[in-house]
């Protein structure tokens, strides 16, 4: 029975991959089909409707969420996108009679040097703090602590979670207390009095800060995802003498590929829209840490230009779409590049 189950699971893996193939619609199935790190998968269970849900019932299952999303998400979001082609403001004359200005807001953003700088900083921010920092550290913590005792695990996870759930305003106090150039704890520890981390290395500071702040989500997701890796597979790989790296590559990764992609998509999107760095550096000095979300705050919201702010929000959305396509490509290339090499002694 055990063996049969594992096989069934191996067969369902490609499904996991394709499930995460968001944004590409039709090609997703093709990309995922038949690819897996395991030996040729047995014919998968008939695709889809295993529980005999049927379309009507499936629709009934989807409806509550769909209604909520349509009313409280899609409707205001489309409205906001519409505001992006107007010169709308919350107060003043433009509040009464907003004019449709077409793509002027977009033209203005694309022509604004500050926007370019900001975009470049945001890419650094996302790559450094989310893709490398949060996802990497989050996975590492989930992996290393997975077999540990409850107390240690609770301690590590509790601390990581604490960083995540504290409100931004409080977190800003914590990090200023840490990085302050006069009385900062870090300077006391490193014996570097007067080192102005936030002013001399603003991007590095906010990147490290955001790793601290947001690793919890990746850790939590990977912790849960790692449970979909059957311990028996790991055990056999280990007995066969596979190194940790090999175990990760050949046993773990195929199981969590979909989660990894989801995680990257989500944390990138959130990091793009995160303006907590503002609380640490106010975007400065001289805009050297003005990521896009802070740019919106500084340029549009503080100045009351909601139309312009909406336009930039939409630009961020488009950039995220590109980033998502890039992730999908990267993951697919990776699948085709890595030959389906049997796990070192994979127990078969």
């Amino acid at each position: 029975m055990g063996r049969a189950t594992s096989d069934a699971e191996a067969g369902s893996d490609p499904g996991a991959g394709s499930g995460a193939d968001a944004g590409t619609g039709g090609t997703a199935g093709a990309g995922g089909a038949g690819v897996g790190a395991h030996a040729p998968p047995p014919a998968p269970a008939p695709p889809g409707d295993a529980a005999g849900l049927g379309r009507p019932r499936a629709l009934a299952f989807v409806t509550p969420a769909l209604v909520l999303i349509l009313v409280f998400l899609v409707f205001p979001a489309l409205w906001t996108i519409y505001l992006g082609v107007t010169d709308y403001r919350l107060t003043g004359i433009a509040a009464v009679e907003p004019r449709v200005v077409g793509l002027d807001n977009y033209g203005r953003a694309v022509g604004d040097e500050r926007f370019h700088t900001s975009l470049w900083l945001t890419l650094q921010f996302v790559l450094g703090s989310a893709v490398i920092g949060q996802a990497g550290l989050g996975f590492a913590i989930a992996w290393v602590t997975r077999g540990r005792g409850r107390t240690l695990r609770g301690l590590v996870e509790g601390l990581v979670m604490l960083a995540w759930i504290l409100p931004g305003s409080v977190v800003a106090f914590l990090w200023i207390a840490l990085l302050d150039r006069d009385g900062g704890t870090l300077n006391a520890l490193l014996d570097t009095p007067g080192a102005a981390w936030l002013l001399d290395h603003p991007m590095l500071s906010v990147i490290v800060f955001n790793v601290w702040r947001g690793t919890a989500f990746s850790m939590m997701l990977y912790s849960a995802a790692l449970q979909s890796v059957p311990p028996s597979h790991l055990e056999t790989a280990r007995l066969a003498g596979a190194s940790t790296w090999q175990q990760l590559r050949d046993v773990v990764f195929p199981h969590i590929r979909g989660h990894a992609l989801t995680n990257l998509l989500l944390i990138s999107l959130w990091t793009f829209n995160d303006f907590t760095p503002f609380l640490l550096t106010a975007g400065g000095p001289e805009g050297r840490s003005e990521v896009l979300a802070v740019y919106i705050l500084n340029v549009a919201v503080r100045g009351g230009e909601l139309g312009y702010g909406a336009a930039i929000s939409f630009l961020i959305l488009l950039i995220n779409l590109i980033v998502a396509l890039f992730y999908l490509r990267m993951l697919r290339e990776r699948r085709t590049a890595a030959p389906a090499e049997p796990v070192a002694g994979g127990g078969r």
């Binding site: 019932r57 499936a58 205001p76 996108i81």
Partner: protein, 335 residues
């Protein structure tokens, strides 16, 4: 790290030359010891203990050495992680107990007066109750409707479902931004939801659902369908299948979403601030902002003390959920 020398004994040796990267320290040492090469320590002298063990015991020792080195490395890693995450929290540990907290962490002039002052605040404790209320209902709504939807989406083919799902996810990033506050408010106003907890719950849930479905669908996709098929053969209804087979299997995923929702709602400021009027209804994240002066200067004693009280419930909840639901391996279904 050094590439494995050709002809190194040991069938566990990486098959690809880049394979050793992530693990070169422990792996390389074990091998060096096992081979008994005289220069074993030279290039890799970091974990002498491991090398020594390997020399005495041959093959078995090699594995033991590797385990030991691995344990040492992971212990070191955990220590570094603990330090990294604990260090910035020092201020939170000192300031609430300090009679005159400043923006830097220092040894406190110990006092509990800040807590007393906080308890005198008319909104502090109510706001925590409101936060619990908002977080609980939003979580229930998101997990409930999200699980149903993601299950259906996972099992029934809808053309372009992934594209639609990702489009919704992208839209959710717009409505969580500041630019969307006018549409959100006017919508809630038209629906007569201003100054109600229900309005906040619905707006928050709408914003969180796409990501929740996105994550849950991965978990649903990952569960084997064979059990559902057999259950169906025995006449179980789809709801029964969902309840007795799917839910227990994706429990870690549900726990993740639950914790994520609660934590997000707990720290969300803009929707409750925009939609609520009566301060008696405000959640803690909003009340936190009241501890500033007219000139915008923070009242550090109250802010630090309230932060401490504010963060504890969520940490406790996380530890509880992770022990109760998240990290117990469910035998039977998967092995």
């Amino acid at each position: 790290m050094s590439a494995p020398p050709p002809g190194t004994p040991g069938r566990a040796g990486p098959r690809r030359t880049d394979g050793g990267n992530g693990h070169a320290g422990a792996d390389g040492n074990g091998r060096a010891g096992g081979a008994g090469r005289t220069d074993g320590g030279a290039g890799l002298g970091r974990t002498d203990g491991g090398a020594g063990l390997g020399r005495t015991d041959g093959g078995a020792g090699r594995a033991a050495a590797r385990r030991l080195a691995g344990r040492a490395a992971s212990a070191l890693f955990i220590a570094v992680v603990l330090a990294f995450f604990a260090f910035p929290l020092l201020w939170l540990a000192s300031a609430p107990f300090d009679a005159h907290p400043t923006i830097t962490a220092s040894l406190p002039e110990f006092t509990l007066a800040n807590f007393r002052e906080l308890l005198d605040n008319p909104y502090a404790l109510t706001s925590l109750r409101n936060s619990v209320y908002l977080a609980f209902w939003t979580m229930l709504l998101v997990v409930g409707t999200g699980a149903l939807a993601s299950y259906a989406l996972s099992r029934v083919r809808v053309p372009g479902r992934d594209a639609i799902l990702y489009a919704l996810l992208l839209l959710s990033s717009i409505v969580t931004g500041t630019a969307a506050m006018v549409p959100i408010f006017l919508l809630a106003f038209e629906l007569n939801l201003v100054d109600t907890h229900l309005g906040v719950v619905l707006v928050l849930a709408g914003g969180l659902l796409p990501a929740a479905i996105f994550i849950l669908k991965d978990f649903m996709d990952n569960t084997p369908t064979s059990y559902e098929e057999s259950a169906r053969v025995f006449g179980a209804t789809p709801l029964q299948i969902l309840r007795h087979i799917v839910i227990p299997t994706v429990r870690p995923g549900l726990a993740t979403i639950a914790v994520w929702t609660v934590a997000t709602v707990w720290s969300s400021f803009l929707p409750p601030f925009l939609l609520l009027r009566d301060p008696e209804l405000s959640p803690a994240a909003v009340v936190m902002y009241t501890f500033y002066t007219e000139g915008g200067q923070p009242n550090l004693p109250l802010i630090s003390t309230f932060s401490l009280l504010y963060s504890l419930p969520v940490v406790v909840m996380y530890v509880f959920v992770s022990r109760r639901y998240g990290f117990r391996f469910h035998g039977g279904i998967k092995r």
